[in-house]
């Protein structure tokens, strides 16, 4: 799946996917859940919470 396909599937821009991958954007819960559901994974499988 390309970044553009993923972006289209979850309703955001390719640049947002790029930013997510680079760790430079924290998604909203809605977007995080849409991505997780698309890959049929849990949130923790896709994202991790860093305190520092």
């Amino acid at each position: 799946m390309t970044q553009q396909e993923l972006a289209d599937a979850v309703g955001c821009t390719r640049q947002t996917i790029l930013a997510l991958e680079a760790g430079r954007y924290t998604p909203s819960l809605g977007l995080a859940f849409r991505i997780a559901r698309l890959f049929e994974k849990s949130l923790e499988d896709i994202f991790c919470y860093e305190t520092d």
Partner: protein, 195 residues
């Protein structure tokens, strides 16, 4: 040198330093992007719609303002308003600049348009940009109030035409500071994230 001139020079210097700094940073970013292939895709990522629109907005405001400044410098504030033809040209340039802003920044206005054209990251950028907008308007107000008071202190009167210029400049600042805020916010997020 009077305070008005000092203020103008100070603001011009500030803008020049900021411009040079951003130019240098951009150059460094391109160099790094070439060197680091893993980072390259992110660093060289294409601009989003809002980012492009904000740059066009800044360019159109600068062109409009430069044209008005040229007229203002050539005819002086008082003469500018005595000649109806020149006054109309001046006003027309400003109105065109403002209409262009409304067209260029249209994706950022209206709930439905925003939902269709922007995503949540763009919304975040717009929220941050509104802080720049408030700051820009306050700065412009301060420049007019302090500059006008100091410049016309001796005379005890200010030309009534200055009120008209204040009105237009505040309108342009409203759009310019929003666009500058958008560009800076994307640049900041690209470099430091959204934290």
């Amino acid at each position: 040198m009077n305070l008005w001139l000092n203020l103008t020079i100070f603001v011009a210097l500030l803008v020049s330093v900021a411009g040079l700094s951003m130019g240098y940073q951009t150059l460094q970013r391109f160099k790094r992007a070439k060197a680091e292939s893993a980072e390259a895709e992110w660093e060289m990522g294409p601009m989003v719609l809002l980012q492009k629109r904000a740059l066009w907005s800044i360019l159109s405001i600068l062109v409009g303002s430069a044209a008005c400044f040229w007229l203002w410098q050539t005819y002086s504030v008082t003469l500018l308003y005595q000649d109806t033809r020149i006054r109309l040209t001046f006003t027309l340039i400003l109105i065109i600049s403002l209409i262009l802003q409304v067209i260029i920044l249209a994706p950022s206005t209206g709930r439905r348009r925003r939902e269709l054209l922007l995503d949540e990251r763009d919304e975040h950028v717009l929220m941050v940009a509104s802080r720049y907008q408030v700051g820009g308007l306050m700065l412009m107000n301060a420049l007019w109030a302090i500059g006008g008071t100091e410049y016309y202190w001796e005379a005890g009167l200010i030309p009534v035409t200055l009120l008209d210029l204040m009105f237009w400049s505040i309108f342009l600042t409203f759009f310019l500071s929003k666009s500058v805020g958008i560009v800076i916010s994307y640049w900041w997020m690209e470099r430091y994230g959204d934290g």
